[in-house]
Subunit: 439 residues, 2 copies
């Protein structure tokens, strides 16, 4: 097969969705028009825009751009080569628009991680059959060019593992809790007040957004079909200011980690809070930042970091995808033709050896520490570090926090120990367990 | 213009140079052949190899590959689509080979930063005229896909500034000095012993290698013609164990920094040791690592980090470039057609405001500190931090080190102050000045 790429005419873009990202894209396309034309080899022109509300003030003059009341008409317009889907949502009009555009042989650029996590392979197959691009750099890690870095820059490697911070809202909340000593609830409230969290923050805080992104990255990394349902998802709701403080004292910072690795011939995908060593670059990611640590068989460990969301970063990624299309670049959506993506043989169980952080509330009674440490030992859990110290307002006889970092063990062994400890009744509540990420 | 890309036949590669990188490339191409064929859309086959010494044991079986005694014949072989130039050197056979290959309409993949820093624009023009790729991901920052990340991933942005660690040897030496308290000479010796520094380490230690890489990155970032001669180059020879220790105490780590920024309508390129705040990811780069911090007008700050050299990382980048060629991807060599690259209007003078680290050896006499601080004030240099402390084996009346971190000032103002201080004769030698990088 040889392919012919038209690169002589202006590239005509139709934008559906004029929220923060859509508005940002319009600003970049207007503000850097000459630069983008030089880089892309031809002008990139906006030949259609569409949004729910035409009258809303977006701080930009929309009059130069043809308005489409129905965004789906962008997908059939003879004046549109590229449809930008910046509406969002895994179903509904976003999905219909992308399908229609691809079916009509138009390139699609989207920032929609939920759509790709749920329908990525079907859409990629459609794009492939039609010989057009389905580009989504903005869907993962905002302005960081991680899709390109992984899918093209590291194409010589088998990826063994990735460990990433993919949700800026969670990172912002955890940073607030650490920097200001805030409670989880207060930090979420503040994140909402400054526009960093939605009114219903579940998608972010519960880890689902990070899981969407992880499923996409894992597909590229391992050559597997996107499998969002296989992601083991845990949010940050259970993290307390005490955990954050204790972690710091022990040389760690708590982050919502999205990780994937090969294991027992399958692929393990998980989103969960974890302790990250302070000396690792992932620990330095603050506020709304994102970062991805990748391990390839030839390259070793590579890190990408930057802003994970927001108008400028996300629009930067959308426009970069568009310049790629102007340049005539086309790469298989998930790095391989879809018929060569293997089933994601989801690992049934996490059998890796991992260190854990444990926080107990223990009765302030003689022998309780000995009982707990004895039960840990019986279950082959060795203690690396332990802090037992009464809180400042400790009253004799009240419960006392004890923090333990274990040596690596399996989750199964740990669960056995925890159950045994709970059964003794010497702990006031189920111990709080957080993974210690080995990096 | 429309372009037609042949992507149906195997991509045939001729490799010139079988040192560490060349051998690594052969290993990857053999070991991941199926994966690379799937990712690239067609098999990548080695149809020719060449090196100075055929008999040398490289730990790989060379018998499957046609041997060329004269590497230049790879450039005219009808069985070669891509010539890999892994010989090195800015002139001589490497240059001749690349020119010949391009002239004959063959794609070129190279890891040769010196060649590109000195002849990049001429070679890029030749590649453009012939409609072939000149790919060089491996030439900058080893396994980190920084060329791709900058040239394609951040194509929506005007880059304002970059601050990078681009020489693994210097970073290894500085890490040794910090971790082991070694002198500069001892650390260089050890770097040589473990193969991290050449017998003549000048190219690395003197900052020239980092400058080659910086000149290439600056061209892509700013859309300017590569201008190696404009790089202000200073190596790490003057850094002492005392500097490293004092910097650490003040919250910094000393790194060989390669930086470029727009200034007064021109472009400022510099390689020099600098203090980096410990809380910044660049400070975490240890051993032979590299990292690049980029600031774009829309994306904000983005960081890339990873291994800066070595068989696996460098070969990973060379093979990724080859997969790009197999995929039919082609991007202007420096991000713009060469006739649109502007002259690098080199900034005549660094007028930016910068904090500085100063180390004085002062006579242990009454009034010396007052005299020095007075002269700094007279030249509008304000002191942010000062440490004066006798060394452990201090003898009364001997010289005493004084360390100062200034508030930001111009280089010119600082030079005036330093000259005035020297003239007083109260310092034992010219004060040691190191830039504090603002990050």
């Amino acid at each position: 097969m040889s392919k012919t790429v038209e690169t002589d005419k202006p590239l005509r873009v139709g934008i559906a969705g004029l929220g923060t990202v859509g508005a940002g894209v319009l600003k970049i396309l207007a503000g850097q028009a000459d630069l983008l034309a030089a880089r892309g080899g031809r002008p990139i022109v906006v030949t259609g825009i569409s949004a729910r509300n035409k009258e809303q003030d977006r701080g930009i003059d929309l009059s130069p751009y043809p308005w489409f009341d129905d965004c789906l008409e962008l997908a059939s317009s003879p004046n549109v080569d590229v449809v930008m889907e910046l509406i969002g949502g895994e179903e509904g009009v976003a999905k219909t628009l992308v399908e229609l555009a691809l079916e009509n042989g138009k390139h699609v650029v989207t920032a929609n991680k939920a759509l790709l996590a749920h329908h990525g392979v079907a859409l990629a197959t459609l794009a492939e059959n039609k010989g057009v691009s389905l580009a989504y750099e903005a869907a993962v890690a905002g302005g960081i060019p991680i899709i390109k870095g992984l899918r093209e820059g590291l194409s010589a490697n088998r990826i063994d593992r990735m460990v990433a911070i993919l949700n800026g809202t969670c990172n912002f909340v955890l940073s607030l809790m650490e920097d200001e000593g805030m409670s989880f609830d207060a930090a979420v409230k503040q994140a909402q007040d400054v526009g960093f969290a939605e009114a219903d923050p579940t998608t972010d805080i519960g880890g689902f957004d990070a899981a969407h992104k992880l499923a996409i990255l894992a597909s590229i990394a391992f050559g597997t079909r996107v499998n969002f349902d296989a992601v083991d998802i845990q949010g940050i709701e259970s993290i307390t200011a005490e955990d954050i403080e204790a972690a710091k004292e022990l040389g760690y910072r708590i982050k919502l980690i999205a990780a994937a690795q090969k294991q027992n011939g399958g692929c393990l995908q998980r989103v969960q809070p974890a302790l990250v060593p302070l000396a690792h670059p992932l620990a330095l990611v603050s506020g709304g930042g994102n970062a991805v640590h990748l391990e390839g068989d030839w390259v070793g460990a590579v890190e990408f970091g930057g802003p994970g969301a927001g108008e400028g970063p996300t629009a930067s990624a959308v426009v970069a995808d568009t310049v790629d299309i102007a340049r005539g670049l086309d790469v298989p959506v998930f790095g391989l033709p879809t018929d060569q993506l293997t089933a994601d043989n989801a690992a049934q169980q996490d059998t890796s050896l991992t260190a854990f952080y444990l926080r107990f509330q223990m009765a302030d009674k003689k022998g309780t520490i000995a009982a707990v440490t004895g039960l840990l030992a019986e279950h082959d859990i060795s203690i690396e570090t332990m802090i037992q110290r009464p809180e400042r307002d400790h009253v004799a006889g009240a419960n006392m926090p004890v923090i333990v970092i274990t040596y690596p063990s399996t989750r199964e062994a740990l669960a056995g120990a925890i159950n045994a400890i709970e059964e003794t009744g010497i702990v006031a509540s189920r111990p709080h367990v957080i993974r210690v990420e080995s990096l």
